[in-house]
Symmetry: C2
Subunit: 164 residues, 2 copies
DNA sequence: ACCTGAACACCGTTCAAGT
DNA sequence: ACCTGAACACCGTTCAAGT
């Protein structure tokens, strides 16, 4: 395992245990038993670390979506459950531009593939479905729905428009 | 105009002209001709300023949505066009938990009202529509769609599922 | 090849003190 | 009532130097 991958492992741990503000160069270094400046021998800058987290999130999410049962409902469940299991990682992965030049080719399309398949190949439908799922997840993660809202029912209602 | 409102005016200007990272206590103070510590006499902390921006965004967006022609398509256009006209403000307003205790009561429901009306009072449908619009806007603002994607067509396709 | 200490240019925030 | 300077505890990052 490369030193860069070790740094990313630590970053994931800090992100999930202490939240995004705790992901500092000094904290990552401290967990590895070195000093912050040493990180720059293995990583270009902090943004490079965040791009690495984004890539990992996309890869893991792609695997999770690909493993879902056929059908729009199961895919939607998979999308939501992955996001709820990794809320901080989901935010890091989606609330910033895709670092296309820093992420291995094919990762983006692999994550999109199950959605495109569920849309029967219609790219506009696929984007609409993705936006719908993302919007629901993003608003839930930001606590924007009223406390006590029945979000299962909201998801069901949301999908009715798109079920054939 | 209260000193707090002056600070919020400056914050909006900095946000739109220089981006979110430039919204620092020192920069706001400098634009007002004072020092950063002085801001704390008029504002509790930086989060209070962000909550103020969130409130302003919701109020302005509510007015804009309420002025839309009847019908789902016009409402969706209004949502998207407000967000694209104030992209930074949209992000500040939506990418953080609603500061319910810091925002005047009624602001949240006023912003939601046009969407609930378009949903014929169905709260689940209203949330689904909101999430769909938010997801499309959020992904567009984060540059997540492929360059050159025909997003007008995506919006049209997205809404077909919900038009009666 | 990998790590360090010292340093630079920043942050948000507190507080005693000035007018 | 409003503003200030000095200070504190942080940031990301660079760089010469050490092993």
């Amino acid at each position: 395992m490369s030193r860069r991958d070790e740094i990313l492992d630590v970053a994931v741990a800090v992100l999930e245990e202490q939240g995004p503000d705790a992901v500092t160069m000094r904290e990552l270094a401290a967990r590895m038993g070195i000093r912050a400046p040493s990180l720059y021998k293995h990583v270009r800058d902090k943004d490079d670390i965040l791009a690495g987290l984004q890539e990992r999130a996309l890869i893991d999410m792609a695997r999770h979506l690909a493993a879902a049962e056929p059908g729009l409902g199961a895919l939607a469940d998979a999308y939501r459950s992955w996001a709820m299991a990794h809320p901080r990682l989901y935010e890091v992965a989606t609330r910033r531009p895709l670092a296309r030049e820093r992420i291995a080719p094919g990762v983006e399309s692999a994550a999109a593939a199950p959605i495109v398949a569920a849309a029967g190949g219609d790219e506009h439908l696929a984007r609409a479905l993705w936006a719908l799922a993302h919007g629901l997840v993003d608003l839930e993660l930001s606590n924007r729905f009223p406390p006590g809202a029945d979000l299962d029912a909201t998801w069901r209602k949301a999908l009715t428009g798109f079920e054939k």
